[in-house]
């Protein structure tokens, strides 16, 4: 299981990437800063960075709009 922002849970599967985690939560906003177990992941690496089982993921949405 992967925990996101301390409140969402995503079922882990082998090979799961940061982008997969965001997609699972319908996090479609483009301006998201991601850390996996405290380590920043650049946007260009979302689709290639794997997330380990049990990871603590922060997906911080910047403020926009309004």
């Amino acid at each position: 299981m992967i925990r996101v922002n301390g409140q969402y849970e995503v079922e882990w599967r082998p090979g799961m990437t940061v982008q997969d985690v965001l997609d699972a939560l319908k996090f479609s906003f483009r301006m998201i800063a991601v850390k996996v177990n405290g380590r920043p992941v650049l946007r260009r690496d979302f689709a290639t960075t794997e997330v380990p089982d049990g990871a603590d993921v922060q997906a911080i949405h910047m403020i926009s709009g309004g």
Partner: protein, 721 residues
């Protein structure tokens, strides 16, 4: 209508009723150092000095507007009393064209919707041209006895009030006509900006102002709106058809900045960011704020059917992918010189199918996110052409698209709930999704006939009317009528963000999101879990955003584009590099060396002053920060059951109740009790953080700390301590 003969005929009918000649001052360090007073009743026009103290405490923009308005009105002044003013101001950083988003005008008046001060910001060229024409602000007072145009000629140093009997009222085609009339030639049209409204402002309380800029690529005057709070209604109540400013020669150093190289450096830095990163980020240059439509839907935040729900299966029909194709994409589309953000979008060659201009081919400014969400999903309308048509007519009639949308959504829910029927609406079948009925209602509102007369009063007044005349249940109407302080909500669902409930409820002017948009921080990021965290956010962000309104700036270049490494900073939500830019911009123009903390202090002074202004006008207390329950939780059974899993989970985990075996009504009642208590606790926390009493009144200590403890301010506050 735009033939030289037609323009000449209208111009020939003008008669100068009052004239004032002045020497155009050179703007120094961002200030013209005087404001213009125009009384359209007596014809009195004068220059009023801007003092050093006024600049220190109120900065400019909205601050100047509030200060001038404070002295113009009394606690008894109503929106349609002659002494009510419309004050339009730029700000010391307005017109700094080396940096994006510096063309805002800030407008204040006593609102017909809220009976307190409303402030609204708007793009276009008016504010900067006004300042370079010699005026930091324009105060308009009195009520004319005939239709007039105020013309400020910054080239000749002349202000006139002109009787203008022949021009139409509606922004389209008035903006084009007056741009042509007051420009010396085609090239000069870029130096002219027109403020106008439309006939809708004469018959409703939701009138807006349209502020123009000339778009040479299209050969047309385009418009942006000071939409909120019914300022257009006050404008027409004063029988003003338009305010026109002309100034030739705006350039990078027109503000006489103390250090232009400093401004150039930060300007180059952000312009590079926008060009390089916008396509990867919000695509503001392609679709403007409409990029938010499908995102809000994905996060269950898009208002659907009067804010009942946060998403809809048909959203793709009105998503940014659709708007990208409909918007003309052949050239950058900015509402002010030098703005690389260029998010002003337009639909060209649109053929109208209803109303007085049916069959005509027009350019429609927008729609922006608020209009798509409000006139689209919130009304159950998913045909882009219908949204464009509603957008055009709202603008042209001078009606705020947000208030129109939210009040129409309220009517539609009342209709479907059986409070209204065809007989009561004069035959309009105002169900969700009926675009024809919504358009007909809009035309009726503009023309002041039929059910449109009732709708045009706004949600708060309609609640009273429906109770009195139709026997409606007041408690239900209070729950679903999306207004705070009398202003209709803008277009975000806030049920799952307590902080944003406060962001609407505690807003000085009423339910607009421009003070705080905290939903992601709160609901999604879980960054502000405690009341103290939320209170800190509801202190910092309203103060930060207020600062844009003091300086003539657009908020969008602050956080709708971000440096590539912003995510790695300590406080990414604040966009620290852009805060540094603004420190440099203010210091570089005014010559006053400031810190980021100083910027917040500037806002705190004006923000608290506005809160006291509300107190003076009979509002501004805790009771006035109350919100409709629809913004905090599910009002109806179908609403609860549509997200039953979410709400049941919250009952278990947050409220500590096992919902098993409970009826939906019982579960709704338990959730409501919890959420309403949460909101009250939030008010306590925020008031404490802001230095206010538990009743929402700034303390004397707060006034002293902010140096706004003027005797007349203290007197107002003391009455509530």
């Amino acid at each position: 209508m735009l033939t030289p003969e037609a323009i000449q005929e209208m111009k020939a009918a003008h008669r100068v009723l009052a004239e004032f000649n002045y020497t155009v001052p050179k703007v120094h360090r961002g200030y013209a150092n005087q404001t213009l007073y125009v009384n359209v009743d007596t014809g009195h026009i004068e220059s009023r000095p801007v003092t050093a103290e006024m600049k220190r405490i109120f900065v400019g923009g909205k601050g100047f507007g509030l200060w001038r308005l404070w002295h113009a009105v009394t606690p008894q002044t109503k929106w349609n009393d002659p002494e009510n003013e419309i004050v339009i101001a730029c700000g010391p950083l307005g017109g700094a064209i080396l940096y994006p988003g510096t063309g805002k005008s800030l407008v204040v008046t006593i609102s017909p919707l809220t009976q307190i001060v409303v402030d609204s910001n708007v793009g276009g060229y008016f504010g900067p041209l006004l300042k370079f024409a010699g005026w930091d602000a324009l105060e308009i007072q009195g009520k004319a006895d005939r239709d007039v145009i105020i013309f400020i000629d910054g080239d000749a140093g002349r202000v006139t009030i002109e009787e203008a009997p022949l021009e139409p009222i509606n922004t389209w085609p008035l903006s084009d006509q007056l741009t042509a009339m007051y420009a010396k030639d085609e090239a000069d049209r870029r130096n002219v900006s027109v403020i106008s409204t439309g006939v809708g402002s004469e018959h409703t309380r939701i009138g807006c102002l349209n502020v123009s800029w000339y778009d040479p690529k299209r050969g047309k005057a385009r418009v942006k709106q000071a939409g909120r709070g019914g300022i257009g209604t006050v404008f027409r109540d004063k029988k003003i058809k338009a305010v026109v400013v002309r100034y030739t020669g705006m350039k990078a150093d027109s503000n006489d900045p103390a250090d232009i190289q400093r401004i150039r450096r930060v300007g180059q830095r952000i312009n590079k960011e926008i060009v390089e990163l916008d396509d990867q980020q919000n695509r503001m240059r392609r679709v403007g704020t409409a990029h938010l439509v499908e995102i809000m839907n994905d996060y269950d935040l898009l208002p659907v059917h009067n804010f009942k729900y946060g998403s809809h299966p048909e959203v793709e029909k009105i998503s940014s992918r659709v708007w990208e194709k409909l918007f003309t994409q052949t050239h950058p589309d900015a509402c002010f010189y030098g703005c690389t953000m260029a998010c002003s979008k337009g639909v060209d060659r649109f053929v109208l199918r209803t109303g007085p201009y049916a069959g005509q081919c027009v350019t429609v400014d927008g729609p922006e996110y608020e209009t798509v969400a409000g006139c689209g999903s919130n009304l159950g309308i998913f045909n882009p052409a219908d949204i464009i048509e509603l957008n055009f007519y709202c603008d042209t009639y001078g009606l705020d698209t947000i208030s129109f949308a939210t009040l129409t959504a309220f009517i539609m829910e009342c209709y479907e709930a059986g409070i209204l029927d065809r007989e009561k609406t004069g035959g309009l079948d105002l169900r969700f999704g009926n675009a024809d009925a919504a358009l007909e209602l809009l035309h009726q509102m503009a023309e002041g006939r039929g059910f449109g007369l009732i709708a045009g009063m706004g949600v708060r007044a309609m609640k009273d009317y429906f109770v009195e005349h139709f026997g409606a249940d007041r408690a239900f109407l209070n729950d679903i009528g999306m207004e705070n302080k009398g202003m209709e909500y803008s277009e975000y669902v806030t049920k799952e963000s307590l902080a944003q409930q406060g962001g609407y409820g505690m807003t000085n002017k009423g339910a607009q999101h421009d003070e705080a948009w905290l939903i992601f921080m709160d609901m999604v990021n879980n960054q502000i879990p405690t009341f103290e965290d939320k209170a800190e956010a509801l202190h910092y962000f309203p103060m930060w955003r207020t600062w844009f309104g003091l300086n003539g700036l657009c908020k969008l270049p602050w956080n709708d584009i971000e440096p590539a490494d912003n995510a790695l900073t300590d406080e990414p939500a604040k966009v620290p590099e852009h805060v540094e830019n603004y420190v440099a911009l203010f210091s570089g123009i005014t010559g006053q060396e400031v810190t980021k903390e100083d910027l917040i202090l500037m806002s705190e002074r004006v923000y608290n002053f506005q809160r006291v202004f509300n107190l003076r006008m009979g509002s501004g207390l805790r009771q006035h920060d109350a919100i409709p329950y629809r913004s905090a939780g599910p009002v109806t059974v179908e609403e609860y059951e549509s997200r039953a899993e979410r709400y049941d989970k919250q009952l278990r985990e947050k409220v500590g109740i096992d919902p098993t075996g409970m009826t939906t009504q019982e579960k709704m009642a338990a959730l409501r009790k919890y959420r309403e208590a949460q909101y009250e606790s939030l008010l306590d926390a925020v008031y404490a953080r802001r230095g206010w009493t538990r009743n929402g009144v700034p303390t004397l200590e707060t006034l002293r700390r902010l140096e706004i403890d003027f005797p007349e301010v203290v007197e107002v506050v003391k009455a509530h301590l």
